[in-house]
Symmetry: C2
Subunit: 482 residues, 2 copies
């Protein structure tokens, strides 16, 4: 337990080695990222958690617009008959749907699904909007809330309502749709690695794990600190499945009516969970500078000449304003020691301490959240130095996570070794697989591990299927997952 010198407790966080799930929940509740609500399975995104999401949104949204997409907004509700048109899709989602049955004091003539995803309602519009090859490609994204009635929930990772973006595009050719699917996967990979400092493996989902209604699903998978995998984003090539069911046809230059080729892709607020479990430690959060709501906190250590210290702290804060997301904590009911722990828990990348001696010496002391390193810096170069340090912290956090992922990615040659690794080490497990769903399901049944993806790199089989011993067609990545 972290105690401060004035006996005000910085709230206790369960050590992750003792109980990772509890560490995760403690961290979220005690940093005030989120809270449980009066509605089963739904959380409240508190300002500190929501601001992180806003920063992520901004960086993603720019990438979407830079690749030619525009935002739109489609209805929350989907009439039951519309949802049920695409068979595979409805089978995949129907069990999780929340239904509106009454509105305006009356029973509705048709039930309305609260969108679990928006392919169906969007396709019904695309069918109306797309007439000619001139209308293609149609590149639309939506930021929205979606609802999936989950049996067991966990903040950010699996909740009945969550926030996400869903891209929905229509193309003239199969090649174009495939290109778009891969382009957006690459956007997600770049976003996760560059902005969130989360290294990911890119690859394709198996038939069994793909999106309900898709031709192909690609994904980015990340490894959490407890050795479990987390699907951090997916990009689907929908082929013409939806186009045929929802009748989305265009008149091509050759005068023929043709079905469009479609894609959809999404990431959600579960990425917040990924940030927490990739970078956090027993002190709490460790946030990547590029998305952290507070990049640096200035903590005055008043001492005897508090007026001079506060004045200098204010001056430094105003110098940084507009350049960095900086907070100055002048609350004099808390000790500096209490504040150190508090902002460490909140994962603020950089702490800037300033006391009477620092004022006199025209310096500050900076402390990195990622390494704990203390650096004394002249106030004259403060702004430049902060920029350098934030960049370095971002880089270091990525490298640490990358090393962790590499150290916890193991290749196994037998099913015994597979089970042993899963039991005693967890992590990503690379293994040869015959390609049959039957084997995939049997492995899942026996070990709770699933094929996270057929990776784009290093997927050539070099032995027999670890489960059935028959000829392997791919080397794939297994893990237990969130």
């Amino acid at each position: 337990m972290i105690m401060s010198d004035d006996n005000q407790t910085v709230k206790e966080i369960t050590p992750m080695e003792q109980d990772f799930s509890q560490w995760y929940i403690d961290t979220i509740l005690k940093t005030e990222m989120a809270d449980y609500s009066a509605v089963r399975g739904c959380i409240v995104f508190r300002p500190y958690g929501y601001e992180l999401w806003e920063n992520m949104q901004q960086l993603l949204d720019k990438r979407f617009k830079d690749t030619g997409h525009k935002n739109a907004y489609f209805p929350l509700f989907i009439p039951e008959s519309l949802l049920q048109k695409e068979e595979e899709h409805v089978e995949g989602f129907a069990p999780e749907v929340a239904w509106v049955t009454h509105g305006g004091g009356e029973e509705l003539t048709e039930r309305l699904a609260v969108r679990p995803t928006s392919e169906t309602i969007i396709c019904s519009m695309y069918s109306k909007w797309i007439k000619s090859w001139r209308d293609l490609p149609l590149l639309i994204n939506q930021w929205a809330n979606v609802v999936r009635w989950e049996k067991s929930t966990r903040p950010f990772l699996r909740t009945s309502e969550f926030l996400w973006q869903e891209g929905h595009t229509a193309h003239r050719t199969e090649e174009e749709a495939e290109e778009e699917t891969r382009r957006m996967l690459e956007v997600y990979r770049d976003f996760a690695e560059t902005e969130l400092a989360i290294p990911v493996i890119t690859g394709r989902k198996t038939e069994n794990e793909k999106f309900a209604g898709a031709a192909k699903t690609y994904c980015i998978e990340a490894l959490m600190k407890d050795g479990k995998a987390l699907q951090a984003g997916t990009s689907h090539n929908l082929g013409q499945h939806f186009a045929k069911v929802y009748d989305i046809q265009y008149l091509d230059t050759d005068g023929q009516l043709k079905y469009v080729w479609q894609t959809s892709w999404g990431v959600s607020t579960r990425l917040i969970g990924a940030i927490i479990m990739t970078h956090g430690d027993n002190k709490g959060l460790k946030l990547p500078p590029r998305v952290a709501p507070i990049q640096a906190v200035i903590i005055p250590i008043p001492g005897k000449d508090s007026a001079a210290v506060y004045a200098k702290a204010e001056e430094l804060a105003s110098r940084m304003k507009g350049k960095y997301r900086v907070e100055l904590d002048t609350n004099d009911e808390k000790t500096p020691g209490w504040k150190f722990s508090e902002y460490e828990m909140k994962g603020v990348p950089l702490r800037i301490e300033i006391g009477p001696r620092d004022v006199k010496n025209n310096q500050v002391v900076m402390v990195r959240r990622d390494t704990g390193e203390k650096i004394t810096v002249s106030q004259d170069v403060l702004c430049e130095k902060i920029g350098e340090l934030l960049d370095d912290i971002q880089r270091n956090m990525y490298e640490q996570a990358k090393r962790f992922t590499e150290e916890n990615t193991r290749t196994v040659g037998s099913f015994d070794e597979f089970k042993d690794t899963l039991e005693n080490k967890r992590g990503f497990i690379k293994a040869n697989w015959c390609g049959r769903t039957e084997c995939e399901l049997a492995i899942k049944e026996k070990t709770m591990a699933t094929i996270r993806c057929i990776p784009f790199e290093d997927n050539e089989p070099d032995g027999k299927c670890i489960h059935c011993g028959e000829k392997a067609t791919k080397k794939v990545i297994f893990a237990r997952s969130y």
Copy 2:
């Protein structure tokens, strides 16, 4: 009907004098701002409409943050028991609620309301979060979708689902809450007038018209081109009504437990409707430059030397990039004439034409959407000139709307004059009122006019109540409204 010289029809818009409602719908559908959906009473915000909303959001969000608010996100669903705690509030909203009764394949033990507004769910959290005077003020805003099951709907103005922001704050004293309520009303007034070029009247709602559960409701009211009023934003002083029902108490410095004082305030996508009906004309939209998705469109007029024209157009476009929201239309399947009509319809504030002679003379021709004025400008000063013109268009649009509102605000002395003005002229009608709900309702019953507000300015009565002839307590503003 506007026809282009190559026989491609720019879609027809019904003249507003002939049928204002149809003009409104035509304008929305044909500019692709929105479309009807498969769900009764719900629209799709198409990219052109959504981008306008995004620009509005950004400018509003900055104002909220500058006044110390932070964003958060609360659940979409509200358990029935929670919604029903505040009596007045539930009476006001229950008739319009959509209910979720089934989730995950099972009937729920308690129905869930799809939020019509979030006071109740937010209060349930504030009760948990607020313990001490140190936790106050709590200043939170939420951007969200809400659902109100409306009998008759109209795009942007009244739809079963709409997008909005709702601020919810808690304060230590009654004075602070009142200050906040008025501060946010002023934010709305400034936003409407500065960014949307919509002049508004600020005032207080009558007891009969106030928000269900509020102590006082303030509003901004705008006058549309058909002479009907539109409530463009509201700010509520909630007093301690909700605090007492949801038990939101704080320990004050004097050691006493006290109930907080609350406010809530919101504006919605109906502001898009306000923009359309304040500024539009028979050619279509007229968008205020500060929020227009496209501020200027460059239309090349290729002539004989099309390569030189296109090259110069590209160069000019890239020079403006990042400074203004500019679009270059190089589609060679449409004639320049067709494009002129198209972008006029879409309300783009400034058109920039460039032909072979302009290339030779190092000039462009600019055409203002607000006045139709043509201005020949040297390419050397293009960027500066665009900035000046956009500012001038914004100012002129505000002034035009202001003049319209003033010309259509009339003071009447008798109920006959009142009815006559309403029938033959519409607009805002200023009249003396006795202050009794009875008279207010009788006037509404007889004329369909409501009291839009008790204005902050010029509200001293100077005669008898126009309806009952008794002593007037206020001079108020009546109108028929959306």
